[in-house]
Symmetry: C2
Subunit: 129 residues, 2 copies
DNA sequence: CGCATAACTTACATTTATGTTAGTACTTGA
DNA sequence: TCAAGTACTAACATAAATGTAAGTTATGCG
């Protein structure tokens, strides 16, 4: 289940419904969403590849994050009626329009994150695949 | 208390310790942090003014968010040894360097948030003070 | 004295996010 | 027949974020 009514929910709706910055943060702020965005930036990936590239995330959580991003219009899910099943995820036009957002967040992190290499800012976990 | 050890914490450290984008999101991603950043962008504010400008946040949560931002180096806390006490919060140099980040997040939200006015993107809750 | 203000803190309670484990349906290949 | 691959779902469990209500310390004011 999800939530129905609470101060917590009311505050979230108040903020996300009025603040552009908070709204954007809400869409990309999940634990694994940056990693997913970085991976899909290079093109479509099927579920099994995405999962293999993220050994630390459990299947349930990965699916949850993908579903949320799909509901928010950032990615699309394409099912191929084959056997074995094939499902490909890719960025939508809206998802691709996040590129400058990702770049600025990454640039700031590169300048300020303790231990950042400061060069070729990226999401190094990517090297896993 | 805080957390000591868990898969959750390990994943958080793994990601924030390696992904510049995730690190940045972690610093500004709290529920009330965008609102606080918007307010302090106009200059220093004392605690009571900050609180009055955010009627929906409880004192405990406001303090928590301020403490985290202070620990992360985004804001500074200046105590004036007066009676009644006076404590002023303001952006640090690092906090001010978030301006382009805020602008890009706001611009994207302005373009994509349902119901966004699309003009003069900002955090309208500001009008409360 | 009693109340008000400032900037909190404490103890407690709830909601939400994240994680674990096992199981599903279908088919191909050994 | 038995394991393996695919893309999940369900039931359960824990961790973290957020919220509520009251209390604290110190002083000035009427």
């Amino acid at each position: 289940m999800r939530k129905q009514s609470s101060t917590n929910l009311e505050n979230e709706m108040l903020i996300n419904g009025n603040c552009d910055m908070a709204y954007t943060l809400d869409l990309i702020g999940g634990r694994w969403k940056p990693s997913i965005l970085w991976r899909l930036a290079y093109g479509a990936l099927r579920y099994s590849d995405l999962r293999r590239s993220l050994p630390a995330v459990s299947e349930r959580i990965l699916i949850l994050q993908l579903r949320e991003m799909e509901a928010d219009g950032l990615i699309s899910r394409k099912v191929y009626p084959e056997v074995p099943p094939r499902v490909e995820y890719q960025l939508t036009e809206v998802g691709r329009s996040l590129e400058p957002v990702i770049n600025v967040l990454t640039a700031w992190g590169s300048e300020n994150r303790p231990g950042s290499e400061r060069k070729t800012p990226r999401c190094p976990l990517l090297t896993i695949i």
